[in-house]
């Protein structure tokens, strides 16, 4: 009945993803149809451009960095993201559920995503320069270089427990302790 080639998601696959990500079947099917519509060229995977074609993401000052973190976390050097990887990343943003294991959406995993975004060269540390790059994309040209430096200094100083001038993931988590990450990095997925 019609174009069945677009229905590449088999039942077993859905079950597997569901076990993997704690999304339910309905959510997976919906995310899949979103995946297909993002995949304008119909390649079966997403590229950076496919993400940045979403205007709301493109106007997001950190949009580019978010896409970057997406690809880094997926562990894909080829800059191609298949549906499995796509759902897996999104699973990080599920609300924390007390009754489940929260393999992907625990507090630390959520923070990992944010950390990846800052850690531009992926060496496990956020340096002052890296932070300045992010800060700059957030505020644009509305701040002077001195102010930028000042803010960067203060931010690094505040989280830098071992005073090595950079922030490790552990330091990052500690600095975020007061922040309600469960709320701030959870998206309300509908059933």
């Amino acid at each position: 009945m019609g174009n069945s080639s677009s229905l590449m998601l088999r039942d077993e696959e859905i079950d597997e993803i569901s076990r993997d990500t704690e999304f339910n079947r309905n959510q997976i099917v919906r995310l899949y149809s979103r995946f297909l519509s993002l995949d304008k060229k119909g390649q079966g995977y997403l590229e950076r451009d496919d993400f940045l074609n979403v205007p709301e993401l493109a106007v997001n000052p950190l949009g580019d960095r978010i896409v970057d973190a997406f690809f880094t976390l997926a562990g894909d050097n080829e800059q191609k993201l298949n549906f499995r990887q796509f759902v897996r990343i999104l699973a990080h943003f599920q609300p924390i559920n007390r009754g489940k294991k929260n393999v992907l959406n625990g507090r630390r995993e959520k923070l990992r995503f944010a950390f990846q975004m800052y850690d531009l060269n992926k060496n496990g540390y956020i340096t002052r320069e890296e932070f300045k790059v992010i800060l700059n994309s957030m505020v644009g040209a509305n701040i002077t270089a001195e102010q930028l430096d000042k803010i960067a200094d203060r931010t690094i100083e505040e989280a830098d427990g071992d005073h090595d001038g950079r922030i490790s993931f552990d330091e990052f988590c500690r600095a975020m302790e007061k922040t309600d990450i469960e709320e701030k990095m959870s998206i309300r997925f509908l059933n």
Partner: protein
């Protein structure tokens, strides 16, 4: 071979009279603008069939579920944990879950017509945007537009330095939400339907095999559409087209004057009525006392190339648009023979001033027809209204807003020009069940004292969105083809900076500086004080009927920006431009 041909000849001889009679009947009825109520009957029958189909799908799903032994408790797990914080959630969830397998009553509810489509009222369709949410994956919470006043006092800054980090988390959430679901891209795709309409349609879940009864029904429908409706419609369409070309050629011979105008008026009505029957268009006009009288600008939301045809079955308009090649070009040239329309070349479209001048001239002539403009400049999928280009609102003429809302259950009139050619689109329309459209004439609007064109355009847009039950969006429809201009990103940065400056102001002189910047000391690309996305002056500003293959026009004063945009686009990286001071260090 011989007997085979004989059969064909025999069959066609046998079939010719009924086909010819049907076509003739259609033509005669169209000529006088009368209806026998057959289309209404047809549409109501279709609704009954679709509802039966929806019930079939529902029961089949239920059977499957029982077979699989799936406990519904498992399905609700996530909903339970969510609902603790939101009372509304559970009911919404139920709807979402059952969506697609909805019963007949659900389908009625969604489309707001209890007994027949013909009774769809504006009140019912106004509730539709809320119901459209049913197809959502997530509940959007975060928007990156920081409203300057709202955030005041809300932000508790425990540690000043870390504030940036925490804010960046908000950006991340907003970004991820927009990846999962966004307001804009979905508007350029075919709208999702609540139940299968026996046409191959967008939603993947409808493609599954449900049961043999539905398959048979689908096949019968397919045969009807392709073997009976399509040939009939093609003949009607061709006749309509020939009539249009011939009649306009004859009218063109008459000297200008009242007689010519009257002839043109009547002929065009007949033409468009014939053409509209080639897609079984059922159009309901509301508030006809507001119909644009003599000259003026009629402004409507844009879904398909048929919009102009649909509107023209009730009133004759002058059209404005770029010249098209092929069959559209033929129609355009024919139309111009009988009355004045504004067609411009693609290159000329770049020169906005020329078009604006032609428009102004046209409007000031009382003998000319009201001009029909689709200020969105591109086709939107009929769930929303996007930014209106200000061009047509600058002229200063009275604006007659028209809201159009199609009932996409019987065939989706939205033309996705990036996926379909015009011919494919036409074929799809002629093999659909029917095109049903509600048209509301709104009271005429004039620009207020001290109101600029952009605000006026937004006011008109809002009125249209409300009347048609559409979502009022501020995004530019040109985003369908082009990337977000860096200027919008800058706008966000600026907004964020304002917010940021507010709660760091106590510690250092940032605020003072930020305010100094407001006076233009540092910022080189400061936009004029326009709010939100209306400040897209650099974006194409065309006032085009179907600009759908148009690259867009850009006013001369924005050339530097345009180059910058090109640069940014080619690098796929907006930040490139902005980050250069740092990365070069």
């Amino acid at each position: 071979m011989g007997p085979f041909f004989e059969h064909i000849i025999f069959a066609s001889a046998f079939l010719f009279p009924p086909v010819a009679l049907t076509v003739l009947l259609c033509l005669v009825l169209a000529t006088f603008g009368k209806s026998l109520g057959l289309r209404k009957l047809y549409v109501n029958t279709l609704i009954a069939i679709f509802e039966w189909g929806a019930r079939q799908i529902k029961t089949t799903k239920k059977m499957e579920k029982i077979k699989r032994g799936e406990s519904s408790a498992q399905l609700f797990n996530l909903g339970d944990c969510l609902s603790s914080s939101d009372d509304e959630q559970p009911s919404d969830d139920n709807e979402v879950r059952s969506d697609g397998y909805e019963s007949g009553s659900g389908m009625r509810r969604r489309h707001g017509s209890g007994t027949s489509v013909c009774s769809v009222s504006s009140v019912c369709s106004r509730t539709e945007p809320a119901l459209l949410r049913k197809n959502s994956i997530i509940r959007r919470e975060t928007q990156i537009q920081f409203d300057e006043d709202e955030d005041d006092g809300e932000v508790l800054v425990n540690s000043r330095g870390w504030a940036v980090m925490r804010d960046s988390i908000d950006f991340v959430k907003a970004g991820i939400e927009s990846i999962i679901e966004d307001e804009v891209t979905s508007r350029f795709e075919a709208e999702q339907l609540a139940s299968w309409n026996m046409l191959t349609r967008t939603s993947i879940r409808f493609y599954q095999f449900v049961n043999w009864k539905l398959t048979v029904l689908y096949s019968l429908g397919f045969l009807l559409r392709y073997c009976v409706l399509l040939p009939l419609r093609i003949s009607i369409f061709s006749i309509g087209l020939v009539f249009l070309v011939v009649s306009t050629a004859i009218i063109g011979l008459f000297p200008d004057g009242a007689l010519k105008r009257r002839l043109n008026f009547n002929c065009m009505l007949i033409c468009y009525r014939i053409l509209s029957r080639s897609v079984s268009a059922v159009v309901h006009f509301h508030d006809e006392h507001n119909r644009p009288p003599g000259s003026g600008i009629a402004v409507a939301n844009h879904t398909s190339p048929m919009d102009a045809m649909i509107l023209s079955t009730d009133n004759v308009y002058a059209l404005i648009g770029q010249r098209h090649p092929g069959i559209l070009g033929l129609v355009q040239r024919a139309l111009s023979r009988a009355s004045s329309h504004i067609w411009f070349e693609r290159s000329e479209a770049k020169d906005r001033a020329t078009v604006a001048h032609m428009l102004r001239e046209h409007v000031s002539d009382v003998n000319k027809l009201p001009i029909l403009i689709f200020p969105e400049g591109t086709c939107i999928n009929n769930t929303s209204v996007m930014m209106f280009k200000k061009g047509s609102f600058e002229v200063g003429a009275t604006i007659f807003p028209i809201a159009m809302k199609y009932d996409s259950r019987f065939g989706d009139p939205f033309w996705n020009s990036s996926e379909q050619t015009w011919a494919e689109y036409l074929l799809r329309m002629q093999t659909s069940w029917a095109i049903i459209c509600n048209v509301w004439y709104l009271p005429p609007m004039r620009i207020h004292e001290g109101e600029d064109a952009i605000d006026f355009a937004n006011r008109v847009k809002k009125a249209i969105a409300q009347k048609g039950g559409l979502v009022d969006l501020e995004w530019d429809g040109q985003l369908k083809r082009s990337r977000v201009p860096p200027k919008l990103v800058r706008k966000q940065q600026e907004k964020y900076c304002h917010r940021f400056a507010r709660y760091t102001s106590t510690s250092d002189g940032l605020r003072a500086n930020a305010e100094a910047e407001d006076d233009g000391e540092y910022i080189t690309f400061k936009s004029p004080g326009v709010s939100g996305y209306n400040s897209l002056e650099e974006l194409p500003e065309d006032v085009i009927v179907s600009s759908d293959e148009d690259e867009g026009t850009i006013p001369e004063d924005a050339i530097p920006t345009r180059q910058r945009r090109r640069h940014a686009r080619s690098d796929n990286d907006v930040d490139d431009v902005l980050l250069s001071p740092i990365t070069s260090q």
